[in-house]
Amino acid sequence: MVDEATKRSLAQIPLLKTKAGPRDGELWVTRLKEEYQSLIKYVQNNKESDNDWFRLESNKEGTRWFGKCWYIHELLKYEFDVEFDIPITYPTTAPEIALPELDGKTAKMYRGGKICLTDHFKPLWARNVPKFGIAHAMSLGLGPWLAVEIPDLIQKEIISHKGRADEK
């Protein structure tokens, strides 16, 4: 189940209109513009509510995304690289968000540092094709994942406050 805070912030993210993936030429450009608009609004919302937690950018084709995300725990900032590819089946299937530097450090990941999403994510995504975009995947996927996993990794001393993943 999605918590109330996530639900509220999710409701504020503008929905997308164009059902197009990277193989759809001009339509993909339209979709990509919508992705950026939606992401810009989401980051602005986060800043306004004092909950700024990631930056993303893409290659010019919009097929590969990378950036930073961070999590504040006991006033200390833990920052990680984030990256993902847009699959050719997007937006029918969601992007698989990865935090490569945490690969192998938690069982809540698949190979390559792809985060393991809760069971509600896929049905929720499937019901909202094509309205959900990258901003929604961040909000529903990565946000809750960080909130659960990062405090756990800190507590187990697998990551240190410099935000770098150190070997124990």
Partner: protein, 397 residues
């Protein structure tokens, strides 16, 4: 300190040992066999397979050498699948995977600890060539779901047969995620390529295979993923601290189903199964045929359906014996759809979409609502800004 003499002696010993190992290895690698023989001698690796002909099970077993199969994903199911096909003497295998062998894979079959760190396709090709040098291989160490690789993947499915330029005979999906399955579905719908989907559940106690003939049977996008119901309460399924479990047993059973169906389809014996589920907890095997969804989300699926209808209409009528075909119908939750865990009652109520008519023991993983008119939904505004401007704006935040 060792003396030079003692070191030289040691080198000689090691060289001799190496030569011995090499000689032994050479003897194991048998030469290629040009023609499958049914002669029962202990040096003939095909005698027991060719016996299927004498027993009247298969008309022409040697034909297996004319076939090409693409195995996508060579993990727990795919590696065993590829090994079975190799031992059966398949003509050619195409293997796709982007993963490396890890020690964490050792609860499954096929790979060995000394292969850790190698790419799975490379390790698999090496082992399989040793088992059967008659099989031809083409292996690709990449992720099929990305733009760059997808086009190449499609091209190899279309042209990678035994004779370059001919399509493969069958694609076997042995991947472990929804994205890759959808990718294979997309490619096969576009190419009109027959394929078999396979899967093992994340709790390792159920699995399935599904034969997809584009236009004729339900494709992977025609309905939400099907789930073999085991009498465990999915809502209480504990996922604390892990993503997925796996058992070599369930994976081997599913690989066995997959290759059995492949052999029956390619060599034309027995009945080819369209959907076969495996509930490992109660040993229940639901089986059915699923027709495609005329409203499928995949446009190529719809095109293939039209093509199939036309082909069927021109065919002379042949009375087929009691083939049970289930149609996708719209219905309101009569199958006691249990949604996956953590789904709220709200989501359940609004998720009143299309559900295929399923046999007992099968359910859909979730349902999707029929498209609704967006009324008060907040969507992105139309913008005059160019993509470049938006990208800069994002970077400037």
């Amino acid at each position: 300190m060792a003396t030079i003499e003692s070191l030289q002696k040691k080198i000689k010993e090691l060289e001799a040992q190496l030569q011995k190992e090499r000689n032994e290895k050479q003897q194991i690698n048998r030469p290629k066999i040009t023609q499958m023989s049914s002669e029962v001698v202990d040096s003939n690796p095909y005698s027991r397979l060719m016996a299927l002909k004498r027993m009247g099970i298969v008309d022409n077993y040697e034909k297996i050498r004319e076939y090409t199969v693409a195995v996508v994903g060579v993990g727990g199911v795919g590696s065993v699948t590829a090994e079975m096909l190799t031992r059966c003497g398949i003509g050619k295998l195409l293997l796709f995977d982007y993963d490396k062998v890890e020690l964490a894979n050792m609860n499954r079959l096929f790979y060995q600890p000394h292969q850790a760190g190698m790419s799975k396709v490379e390790a698999a090709e090496k082992t399989l060539k040793e088992i059967n040098p008659d099989v031809e291989f083409e292996v690709y160490n990449y992720n099929i779901t990305t733009m760059d690789n997808f086009n190449h993947f499609m091209e190899r499915i279309k042209n990678g047969g035994l004779k370059e330029g001919e399509p493969v005979n069958l694609v076997l999906s042995c991947v472990d995620n929804f994205e890759a399955r959808m990718t294979i579905n997309t490619a096969c719908n576009e190419l009109g390529q027959n394929w078999i989907e396979s899967g093992v559940s994340e709790n390792a106690v159920s699995g399935h295979i599904q034969f997809i003939i584009p236009g004729e049977t339900s494709c992977f996008a025609c309905a939400p993923p099907l789930v073999v119901a085991t009498k465990t309460d999915e809502k209480t399924l504990k996922r604390e601290g892990v993503c997925a479990a796996s058992l070599p047993t369930t994976m081997a059973v599913v690989a066995g189903f997959l290759v059995q169906n492949t052999l029956k389809y390619l060599l034309g014996f027995g009945d080819v199964t369209y959907y076969l589920g495996y509930n490992a907890l109660q040993d229940y095997f639901p089986s059915m045929t699923l027709r495609p969804n005329p409203q499928c989300d995949d446009n190529y699926c719809k095109k293939q359906q039209q093509a199939f209808q036309i082909k069927e209409a021109t065919k002379p009528k042949v009375e087929k014996t009691e083939e049970k075909v289930e149609e996708i119908v719209h219905d309101d939750n009569v199958w006691e759809i249990q949604l996956v865990s953590e789904t709220t009652e709200d989501e359940l109520r609004e998720a009143d979409g299309q559900v295929p008519n399923l046999v007992e023991g099968l359910k859909v993983a979730y349902t999707t609502p029929a498209p609704t008119q967006a009324s008060n939904e907040k969507t992105v505004d139309s913008t005059e800004k160019s993509l470049d401007e938006l990208m800069k704006e994002m970077q400037g935040l």
